[in-house]
Symmetry: C2
Subunit: 224 residues, 2 copies
């Protein structure tokens, strides 16, 4: 018997943003036989394409696996030959849909070499942070939120360092694309809560700093 | 006269996710004298803290500038001494609120050194992608979405490579935090549309690949 069933209840109707954000959590086990409706899946992908991106570069690609054989090939590629998949993957492997979210750095370098940006030498030193990865992560988050809205569950997970090449080869992903993460999507099945959640959410006083780092006191009312 | 006023209309009520995602765009000029209500600002920060994070690490900090003197110090730090701020910043500088979104890599390395993850040597080579930056970017996106929901405008922007140190010093941000980006928040003022939008959104056929990279054809109905 599973120790702690998930308390979340799911809704089929469109939801307000506030509720979507509060309900969102990683779902790691799915009803394997309940397919994600085509129109819903396409809406989630449309949301992904509405993520912000530096210079409207939109440097991302989404490889969508809906067929069992494709998903099996993906899972096989994530596991070293001769080994069993990690046990924590057994739930994720029930997902009827996988969306591989790939970033495309070259598209950003090209975009910023245009006249209005002027980084004509395509210098990577121009970029303080890999915004191609960050923007692609934002796209993944929009899929996660859209899944909650549609009464679906989803999970965002990374691929171990040593398995990127095999996944690239299996799914013909060009070497210059980076696999930022995978979003699994499906109808949630009963599962235990992630043990990580026991850590608790960090309180606002710890993560929010007013006026300068380390300043916990809220601003004066006059300042707002 | 500004050439192309923004066609977006803004709403004060709570909004459904679908509408929020479709309405969201970067707002680069604000009504400087219209403060963001305290309860709204705190809700946006609560949304940020609800972003997903690897291992529930929550390795992020948000430095919130609501006072004119703090914002002025920030803007001064982003500009090389003796130079004028870039002209595209003149609109952003009207924002009554700035939220500096910082990632905290050390917190991820610490979290994954715990027994259930087992990366006891805190090896950075374990991480295929900087999930601290990606998760912090997701937190920023939740602020952007929350702003739309609250009838506010917002913009996510990066700080040039050479100015990170000055911003860190000015706001006492520890050196091990990385400034992933800044979210400006306020009531939108009339502005022209970003020239980048002329590029158009990339079509789904170009960014969505079915079954393997480069496969544009949709899956058969049976597969869904």
């Amino acid at each position: 018997m599973l120790p702690t069933p998930c308390e979340v209840t799911w809704d089929d109707g469109a939801m307000e943003l506030d509720e979507v954000i509060r309900r969102r959590r990683m779902v790691r086990r799915y009803e394997a036989d309940e397919a994600v409706p085509d129109d819903v899946l396409r809406r989630l992908l449309e949301y992904a394409a509405r993520a912000p991106s530096a210079g409207f570069s939109q440097g991302w690609d989404f490889v969508v696996l809906t067929e069992a054989a494709d998903r099996a090939a993906f899972w096989a590629a994530t596991t070293p030959p001769g080994e069993e998949p990690d046990s924590w993957l057994s739930g994720l492997m029930t997902a009827p849909v996988l969306v591989l979210c790939c970033s495309d750095k070259e598209r950003y370098l090209d975009r910023y070499a245009e006249p209005d940006k002027g980084v004509t030498d395509r210098d990577e030193g121009f970029w303080p942070v890999p915004y191609w990865d960050i923007d692609t992560g934002m796209a993944a988050l929009l899929i996660l939120l859209g899944a909650v809205d549609a009464g679906l569950g989803s999970c965002f997970f990374g691929i171990p360092v040593g398995r990127h090449e095999a996944v690239h080869e299996t799914l013909a992903i060009p070497p210059d694309r980076r696999l930022v993460g995978v979003v699994s999507v499906g109808y949630p099945a009963q599962d235990r809560r992630s043990p990580s959640l026991k850590r608790g959410r960090r309180p606002a006083e710890e993560i929010v700093h007013w006026g300068r780092f380390g300043a916990a006191s809220p601003p004066t009312p006059e300042a707002l």
